[in-house]
Subunit: 386 residues, 2 copies
Amino acid sequence: MNNFEFKNPTKIIFGKDSIEKLANEIPENAKILLLYGGGSIMENGIYDQVKTALADATVIEFGGIPANPEYSVLMEALEVIKTESITFLLAVGGGSVIDGTKFLSAAAMYGGASPWNILTDNIKIEEGLPFGTVLTLPATASEMNSGAVITRAETKEKLAMGGPGLFPQFSILDPQVITSIPERQLANGITDAFTHVLEQYMTYPVGGLLQDRFAESILQTLIEVAPKVIKDPTDYEAASNFMWSCTMALNGLIQQGVPGDWAIHMMGHELTALFGIDHARTLAIMTPSHYKYNFEAKKEKLAQYAERVWKITEGSKDDKAYAAIEKTEAFFHELGIETKLSNYTDDYEGTAETIKQRFTDRGWLGIGEHKSLSPDKVEKIVKMAY
Amino acid sequence: MNNFEFKNPTKIIFGKDSIEKLANEIPENAKILLLYGGGSIMENGIYDQVKTALADATVIEFGGIPANPEYSVLMEALEVIKTESITFLLAVGGGSVIDGTKFLSAAAMYGGASPWNILTDNIKIEEGLPFGTVLTLPATASEMNSGAVITRAETKEKLAMGGPGLFPQFSILDPQVITSIPERQLANGITDAFTHVLEQYMTYPVGGLLQDRFAESILQTLIEVAPKVIKDPTDYEAASNFMWSCTMALNGLIQQGVPGDWAIHMMGHELTALFGIDHARTLAIMTPSHYKYNFEAKKEKLAQYAERVWKITEGSKDDKAYAAIEKTEAFFHELGIETKLSNYTDDYEGTAETIKQRFTDRGWLGIGEHKSLSPDKVEKIVKMAY
């Protein structure tokens, strides 16, 4: 097991009707900016629940944060924060709204020339404007971690940021929100969380026995509840386990003491930036070809995953490892998620070369858990995913 | 899954040679009281490591905190805290030293007549004197939770306390400390952590699918590493997984959203108070008879535990459930831990009646996950454990 440091101070308020508890968590006399996305919270009743809980508070609103939170939109919100002297941010939404709020938390306190530099210069955020979240879409675990990914349409870039100052002070998770989420978004959420676990687990053994078992626990739970959540989002047992699994998949716990891969995300982000493909679907596109290309390096863990998660007992280690990749791809298919780039765009030719060039330009000369995947190798993996 | 609220702000610094990082975690200009136990840290080099790391700090020492931290000794430490105007407590030890330090953290800020009232009046501690820990004995998870158990010899009492103000600010976990722990203490630590998980898992199903799998992960890991830790404490892979499993067993995570039992602990504490039997060994004494007596209420989870943890696939649900109890008892025996009260004392007659009376006197009229175990039933369970 590798050395690690772990601290996660976010308070989780989980369960039925937990949005009612919102006002207890925000400082009295706060001037709140309520941030949300495309307006689905108006239709599903969550907006009303939040407004009722905050009836006695000073609340200004900023809606319209898009999926893959867009820098230019966030800059408008930053203007509101400054002109209105906002003291607390409240994200009501999924990973995009929460990630956008984290950017705003950091940007509001940032003294540099342009807030975009927070992303390009990898500035570690030690302190941000305080914020909390009401989660409406389980998927990213942004509600209990300190990272964010921001997109800039102008330059077709999608970059990560974070730091210990960007943990939400609290996050409210009411699994009942799942009842109003479209099936497409549910499938995306399951796929996103599943891949988050894989990125932290499907590397090489370092003796993180407990971490491996925790990762396998989340994968098994997602496999168990996925069909139930899709079939009947009012199934509270399935919904609550789905929601908690998504949070645990990327709140920092399972990554402690073990290597992380994250190559799937780095390649997937490019597909979103280039084609606007849903984040989760880009991960499903990249996962099988990444594991096939890096089969030798990953086969120990692939075989363990095959045995423990998919209960594959027959065949050699190689057979099991390969079968696990096929099981994973089949799992995505059962969720209605296609796993080839050509399922999403006819304009895929040249994508691998473009991504290779972008990685080279950014100096990303080796990605993955061994930092050994050069832009040339990335090109080959992306091409395998056509 | 039940509703829950979860927040655990303790910073964990885990790994080889992590004691070196101690000074970074304590506020500059702090006046530190270094608390420890019977002096084993002098022999195993941990004291020297701590003193070296704190070479530039103001440190006063208080040693001699016994196993089952004793109120009268802690009151002497409290006097030192007050007369020396201590601003930071540093526990260097196992669960007893850390629990004692939590009591001192609370007592230093307590305005009531007698600090013992913190325990008898169940006062929830919202703020304590800041403290950190260097863990020398994995077992209790006190290093990452906000609870403590304090013993008072004068009255033969052992009572619990806690509150959100009693999380350590940081805990340093270097698995290398295990190399100097006597086998008896290692066996106790494994048994303690194992039983902590059982208390939060072996109840009745409430659809906490992920919590169940996490609990099973810790149990499986402990079963896997226990013989290795006992055989060779220098086996770092085994030691690090043992240490992290103990912390995860009772840092609050696996208890969220599910019922807790804790009857084993409540009965076990009496055996320590009456006979001075090691805490972990009292748990091993009470576990089999508790599960046998409450077999019908617990058999769903016992059978799941049999299948998933002990890989018992043959027989009816009842067969599996019963076999799991036998496997658990055999696991304790393999660690050299006896599971009958009469293995520890010849003076056991009347114990069940005494404990029944104590529970009645304290108004503990129903314990366990259903609060259905009356003092009469407790008497029967304890008698089964003779």
